[in-house]
């Protein structure tokens, strides 16, 4: 009986040990493989860098070219006839549909960038540690980038969902623009002027970047007075000027120079990091070539330069098969295509996947043209001539003298085309100014009214079937 008692006690003890408490579940040695990835190891500037980084993705090297340039009269698909570039033939031929991957990719990219910006803003606001950069400035940069991406979205798709509000319901264009203006005004408040940045911060969004973009945003909304004023603010800021030689405007030597208002940064030295394959996609194709030969300047564009007698900008914009480039490179006369985009050409990293090409998103010449266009629309045609002719005089073209509003409007639009050719703006300029149908007809293509806006990508609608499609798609 004694040993029975012992056993009973043993069991009782065992049970008591078990009862002790719930702590057992916390009593594991956590093997944490992700500790090094926890948020504690990051600070706000890292997440802001992550927003900028989104602009270096391959989508800006190919799909983006499709929906801005190839689709327009400025350029053709290029490459070999059989190489569709996924859907570039459809964009070039205006036969694209809602399933075009290029449209889907840009839609997604812009929204994901907006997401990163919002996350970075939230993280920065909540961040309590020591930030290596002023938090206000970082938030300003994030807001600029968010505004830039919303601007790209709204001009491509019209009413779009505001990510922070609803992923299905499409906000009216005015609301989206109001959001963009709000972000840009905040950014203008928060950001330093270009010269106030220390040198290691070259490349970040500045007060001028936000002002310049805001001028363009006003222009798209035909808020002429605001556009003219904002452009003037940039012009009188003392931070910007035209490069003397147009030919260098897209070369490495002028990166972040006086004319630069905002550009996507790239480095060609190892470890290289630029807009992935941007120069390669648009490089000359075939023997002795260095690229895929997509997005080739059109005959239509060449003719437009010639009609204007605009030799400087023609030769700075177009690489002709057989020519010798400024850096001595010989282009094979038998290259697959007669013309290539010279603005995409990188001398040091021509055919490499990561190159040194900084993509000029906004430069001073465009601010001058925004000012000119806005003033003309406000009826101040003679005042508009000054900024317009400043652009023309750089490339040795005679001054425009007409003060007829209609004629001047045409002149400014033409100037935009030639000055900003192959800079990923043409299609939206055509839509904005209502020239699309006429220009496409001249280019041998049929513009349909529905093309005023791109279709909402099919894959988005599969996920959110309640979202409405744009008219006609």
């Amino acid at each position: 009986m004694n040993s029975k008692l012992k056993l009973g006690i043993f069991q009782a003890v065992l049970v008591c040990c078990l009862i002790s408490c719930d702590d057992f579940v916390q009593d594991v040695e956590i093997v944490d493989e992700i500790a090094e990835d926890s948020e504690e190891n990051f600070e706000p500037t890292d997440f802001v860098t992550g927003i900028y980084g989104m602009h270096t993705d391959f989508v800006y090297a190919f799909p983006y070219l499709g929906i801005t340039d190839m689709i327009s009269d400025n350029s053709d698909k290029g490459s070999s006839p059989g190489d569709t570039g996924a859907d570039k033939n459809l964009l070039d031929g205006l036969t694209y549909t809602s399933t075009a991957p290029s449209i889907r990719d840009m839609w997604t990219q812009w929204y994901k960038t907006i997401g990163r910006a919002s996350q970075a803003i939230e993280f920065t606001q909540l961040y309590e540690g020591q930030s290596s950069a002023p938090k206000e400035r970082l938030i300003g940069e994030a807001k600029f980038l968010r505004a830039l991406n919303y601007f790209w979205l709204v001009r491509a798709f019209g009413p779009v969902p505001i990510q922070s509000q609803d992923l299905v319901e499409r906000a009216p264009v005015e609301e989206v623009y109001a959001l963009i203006e709000q972000d840009l005004n905040d950014a203008i408040q928060a950001l330093p002027i270009k010269s106030a940045y220390s040198s290691q911060d070259i490349g970040r969004a500045t007060k001028g970047s936000a002002q310049g973009l805001l001028a363009k945003v006003y222009l798209y909304q035909e808020k002429w007075q605001e556009a003219a004023d904002m452009a003037n603010t940039v012009m009188t800021s003392g931070q910007y000027d035209l490069e003397p030689d147009y030919a260098t405007v897209w070369r490495e030597s002028t990166e972040n120079g006086p004319e630069s208002i905002f550009e996507i940064q790239a480095r060609g030295d190892q470890p290289a990091h630029g807009v992935n394959q941007y120069s390669q996609v648009q490089g000359a194709r075939g023997a002795e070539g260095w690229g895929w030969g997509f997005n080739t300047p059109s005959k239509n564009l060449e003719d437009a330069f010639n009609a204007e007698g605009d030799v400087i900008r023609r030769d700075a914009t177009i690489i002709f098969a057989g020519e010798t480039l400024w850096d001595g490179r010989q282009v094979n006369p038998a290259a697959a295509n007669p013309r290539y985009n010279e603005k995409a050409y990188s001398s040091a990293n021509a055919g490499q996947s990561d190159g040194d090409k900084n993509i000029r998103v906004l430069r001073f010449a465009e601010i001058l043209l925004i000012r000119a266009e806005a003033l003309n629309e406000l009826g101040q045609s003679s005042a508009a001539l000054t900024p317009l002719n400043r652009v023309r005089s750089r490339v040795n073209l005679p001054a425009v003298t007409t003060t007829d509003q209609g004629q001047l409007r045409r002149a400014i639009w033409k100037e935009r085309r030639l000055e900003l050719a192959m800079e990923h703006d043409r299609w939206f300029d055509l839509i904005r100014t209502g020239q699309a149908a006429e220009a496409m007809a001249a280019d041998g293509k049929t513009f349909e009214e529905r093309m005023t806006l791109f279709p909402i990508p099919n894959e988005q609608l599969l996920q959110t079937p309640e979202m409405t499609q744009n008219p006609g798609w």
Binding site: F42, K112, N276
Partner: protein, 1029 residues
């Protein structure tokens, strides 16, 4: 319980007299038709309608009373002339003890759907694990077998209730959680209880949502030692082989395809006509030997067994070997008031797997390629496009191409050189202590330790040479000398690599519970309270790989390398273990075995959900009620009905094997979209971005209710259970692909839907005798399952699955459909002409001879919006048939299993490219430009997923056909039996591939239900013998 009174008197006389009496059951109900037979004499009688009998006997005669469903009784005739005989119910029926987790319950007291399978039924169907043996025997449990050596079947109890989480039932052996069912020798199993319903399964709380399987192993029984031997030998062949096109048909087909795309043609009459399946497949072999000794004395029960199972698969060199040793002892101390129970199981396996990909490679590779060329190299699909001959040889100016990427399946099997050894030690010590007659304390400690070693050898040199018959050793050797002088030799040119991965894992559990049982008046009470602690999933691995080791198997050594050209690899880490703390309580009450109430509650806390403070612990309640109508007085006159019990239950179950969310922060060096360039020197600055949101997720909670009834009638000849269940996973976790315009890039998990499963289950058995020599039984079970995803959060459905690995997907998750239902184009004949394509909605890539797809939304385009949901691979019903016949010393049993309402996808046909072989069925009646045809596409067809490849998955298979003969007792050998078994002798299916029973790993998001590289169902012929001493 009541029992028969026996009167034993000394024999005094041999005079004959007539005795009379009645035979009743324990409730005084007369039993008509009971047989009374005088032992060793010819006179017998049966009872009349009122249970009365009269019989001529002599005093001292032994009289045996038999009545189906009751225990046979024998009594001696005394001087009395009238007898009242009370027969007891057969123990296997209602007094049978059912293991219900932390205790047992009598079968007659169960108020839920529990199915028990006993040892005889398990061993009748030889297999390396017991679960495979019970396929088709348990209603509502869908066992998807896999005939690969050493494979584990997929088990779905009452449907698939989760999309991303754990899908396996929770296995418990003798109260101890079990990691791998394969470590248990089927011969050691006494019974398996399937706790299907929530009201019983919920005692295992957070791990019970996929059902609970309780395994009880054998114990020694009172009496002299019993030595048992069992051996069987078998041969396995593939059950259903698809007939592939031969050389001539392939050439015709290929040339049609090439003509349509304007490419080179093949010459007729080529050298080789390889039947790849002939070359690949062999007859598999199974050998199984078991031995056990068991017995019991007053103080000790003992059971000791040894088993060795060996199987050679149908691929050359494919082998699985398993040995188990089990020792179960129980020590009865202090007049049996204390019992110490000790179990030990040692299982070791030795496995040489071979790649299942060989099956689909044999499907795709063409007959014109030889297994080996004359130079000894393995054949490859090289074709001389100038001459149109399938060869790698070419004269100058001729060009050689590769026809397809199907590879050489024989090569793959030949070079697969992998050896996996595992050892699992599982032990448990338990003590049961009767504190009073009514109160018992049980404590248990169990632990499992597993070791696995995986050695793989890769003969890189030989495989490189064999990848292209034109390659030379000289070139290979040259590459090893670093010809470009960069100091690096690619590992592509290592002679070989050898890797060893060792894994150790452990788990342990401690538990204690008190059980109180009391009967007073007609009240029966039983209550259990207890707690348990468990630690599992812990472990560690080490991995090392070296290049250029000695190739001979016995000289392979990571430290003994023939060159130092390459970097070795070493890795190792620990696995996070999980702590589980649980409390449970159970209360059972019945009044007079008529009214039953039962309540169970389990509280589980798990360290896996450590971060979300509030959801560390979950409470899982359950209740059930029962009513045995046949024990009511008013039912006394319903003679045909022997048992009728209604039951209903409700409960909650958890599934904690769900994926976790980790806050992903994407960051890293180099060119990536989280980095950017700043500054005058354009420095690369490393940035970061959130990859996915970390949604707070918890375990899945499944809520279930069931109603049903058990019945027995016609003198217990017909018995069964019929029930209805409805279970709902209330917070199913889905892998959410972020909406395109949302902020996140990477997929994440979130509680996003409900998944419901409902259906009926029927289990019916009929057993009867015809005369004393012939008895038979028929068991039928049938169950239905309706699986549906419900209440998906907005924009969260649409997760895709079923990738065919060529960019084509076949499944999608959608509200209102089964989990990951088929999603594809619906086919509508074949495009006959370009004209027809141009004038109708068509894919941009459509050509004559391609399948034509239905424009479901009539928008003139064929795109994703035209893809429709086409059912599921999950059967909507399954059924089993068991037939047993005993005639004298012969026994025959037949088991069949079938499923229906499901669809399977013929991935083998779907992932075709021009240059692959085709089955004969795709060749016959195909579309050709000359003859048209509107059912089977032409040789040039597209790769889209469509209903053309989706076939009905219904099948019925005879699982097992066994004929046995029991030898008469000779001297010390009793119970010797010889038997012949045919496994899977027949399968009835309309499916055109190898097998519609597609196991894979059961992952609904993966290729489950798609035949791509599935191991085919095999047929076996087995002979065996068992005897006891």
């Amino acid at each position: 319980m009541l029992f028969l009174s026996l009167f034993t008197f000394s024999l005094t006389a041999q005079e004959t007299k007539t005795i009379t009496g009645t035979v009743t059951d324990t409730r005084d109900v007369p039993l008509p038709g009971a047989e009374l037979k005088v032992v060793d004499k010819e006179n017998y009688t049966t009872t009349d309608f009122d249970g009365n009998f009269s019989l001529n006997v002599a005093v001292g005669d032994q009289i045996r009373i038999t009545y189906l469903g009751f225990q046979t009784q024998t009594f001696s005739v005394t001087n009395d002339d009238t007898y009242t005989l009370v027969l007891q119910d057969q123990a296997s029926e209602l007094d049978e003890v059912v293991v219900v987790g932390y205790g047992n319950q009598k079968r007659s007291d169960i108020t839920g759907a529990i199915v028990s399978v006993d040892s005889e039924e398990i061993t009748k169907q030889p297999a390396n694990n017991a679960i495979q043996s019970v396929q088709g025997k348990v209603a509502g449990v869908n066992i998807i077998a896999n005939d690969a050596p050493g494979a584990t079947p997929t088990v779905l109890m009452r449907g698939l209730g989760t999309a991303e989480g754990g899908r396996s039932p929770f296995y418990v052996v003798d109260g101890q959680p079990l990691t791998d069912i394969r470590s248990i020798n089927p011969n050691d199993i006494e019974s398996i209880d399937f706790l299907k319903g929530a009201s019983y399964a919920n005692i295992y709380g957070i791990r019970a949502a996929n059902g609970v399987i309780l395994i009880t192993t054998k114990k020694g029984k009172k009496g002299k030692p019993v030595f048992s031997f069992e051996s069987y030998y078998g041969a396995k062949t593939i059950l259903n082989r698809v007939e592939m096109a031969g050389a001539d048909d392939f050439i015709t087909y290929f040339n049609e395809g090439q003509t349509s795309i304007g490419s080179f043609l093949l010459q007729p009459n080529q050298e080789f006509n390889t039947d790849w399946y002939d070359e690949l497949l062999q007859t598999g072999l199974i050998t199984n030997n078991s031995f056990s000794v068991s017995g019991a004395s007053d103080n000790i029960d003992y059971f000791l067994s040894y088993n060795l199972f060996e199987e050679q698969g149908i691929l050359e060199g494919q082998k699985f070997q398993r040995g188990t040793i089990r020792n179960n002892n129980t020590y009865h101390l202090f007049d049996d008031r204390v019992r110490i129970i000790q179990n030990l199981n040692i299982a070791y396996t030795n496995e040489t797997p071979k790649p299942f990909g060989a099956f689909n490679r044999a499907y795709g590779q063409i007959p014109l390629v030889p297994v080996r060329y004359d130079n000894g190299r393995f054949g490859r699909p090289y074709v001389n496009t100038t001459t149109g001959i399938v060869t790698f040889e070419a004269a100058p100016g001729e060009s050689v191409q590769v026809l397809n990427n199907a590879g050489n399946p024989v090569n793959d099997v030949f070079y697969a050189d992998q050896q996996i050894n595992t050892t699992t030690l599982q032990g448990q010590i338990a003590a049961e202590f009767d504190i009073t007659d009514d109160l018992m304390l049980t404590t248990r400690f169990g632990a499992t330790k597993s070791y696995a070693t995986n050695r793989s050898f890769n003969d890189i040199r030989d495989q490189w040479l064999n990848a292209d018959p034109r390659r030379t050793e000289e070139f290979f050797d040259l590459q090893r000398t670093d010809p470009d002088g960069d100091g690096i030799v690619s590992t592509e040119f290592a002679n070989n690599s050898y890797a060893i991965r060792r894994t150790e894992s452990y788990r342990w559990n401690v538990e204690g519970f008190l059980t109180y049982t009391k009967e007073f008046n007609k009240h029966n009470i039983s209550a259990t309270v207890g707690l348990s602690r468990e630690n599992y999933q812990g472990g560690e691995f080490t991995y090392a790989q070296a290049y250029d080791v000695r190739p001979q198997r016995n000289l392979r050594n990571l430290g003994d390398q023939t060159s130092q050209l390459f970097q070795d690899i070493a890795d190792g880490d620990t696995f996070q273990s999980t702590n589980l703390q649980s409390y449970f309580g159970r209360f059972e009450y019945n009044y007079d075995q008529r009214y039953y109430v039962r309540g169970v509650v389990r509280r589980d806390g798990t360290s896996d959900f450590f971060t979300g403070d509030n959801n560390q612990f979950g409470i899982f309640p359950a209740v059930s009620v029962g009513w045995t109508l046949t024990n009511e007085g008013f039912m006394d006159n319903t003679d045909f009905l022997d048992n009728l019990k209604l039951f209903a239950g409700w409960g909650q179950l958890g599934n904690q094997s769900v994926p976790f969310n980790i806050q992903q922060i994407n960051s890293g060096s180099g060119s990536r979209n989280t980095n950017y360039v700043f500054g005058p020197a354009q420095s690369l600055i490393v940035g970061a971005a959130l990859g996915s949101p970390a949604r707070p997720i918890s375990w899945e909670v499944t809520e279930e209710w069931e109603v049903g009834f058990d019945f027995a009638l016609l003198n217990r000849r017909l018995s069964g259970t019929i029930d209805y269940y409805n279970r709902l996973n209330t917070n199913a976790i889905l892998n959410v692909r972020p909406v395109r315009n949302s902020e996140f890039l990477n997929n994440f998990f979130d509680e996003a839907a409900e998944i419901s499963n409902s259906g009926f289950e029927f289990l019916v058995n009929w057993q009867d005798n015809i005369g004393s020599d012939f008895s038979y039984n028929i068991g039928l079970n049938f169950s239905t399952n309706k699986n549906e995803v419900q209440n998906v959060k907005a924009a969260y459905d649409g997760a895709i699955g079923g990738s065919l690995n060529n960019g084509i997907i076949t499944k999608r998750l959608k509200e209102g459909e089964p989990v990951f239902a088929w999603w594809m184009y619906e086919t509508d004949g074949i495009w006959q002409s370009q004209d027809e394509i141009d004038n109708n909605a068509s894919l941009g890539t459509a050509e004559p001879g391609h399948l034509r797809y239905v424009d479901q939304n009539d928008d003139g385009l064929i795109d994703d919006r035209d893809k429709t949901y086409q059912g599921s691979y999950i059967p909507t019903f399954n059924y089993g048939i068991n037939l047993g016949v005993n005639y004298k010393s012969f026994d025959l049993s037949i088991t069949g299993f079938g499923v229906g309402g499901n669809y399977v996808y013929n991935g083998l046909n779907s992932v075709y490219n021009i240059g692959n072989n085709i089955p004969q069925s795709m060749f016959e009646n195909r579309w050709t430009p000359e003859n048209g045809g509107n059912t089977i596409p032409g040789a040039n067809r597209d790769n889209e997923a469509s209903t053309f490849y989706l076939e009905k998955g219904d099948y019925f298979r005879i699982n097992n056909l066994t004929l046995g003969y029991t030898l008469p007792e000779i001297s010390i050998i009793n119970n010797a039996r010889l038997y012949v078994t045919l496994q899977n002798p027949f399968m009835f299916t309309q499916y055109s591939g190898f097998t519609p029973e597609l196991n894979q790993d059961g992952d609904p998001t993966g290729t489950t239900g798609i035949e791509l590289s599935a191991y085919p169902t095999t047929r076996s012929f087995i002979v065996g013998a068992s005897f006891k001493l």
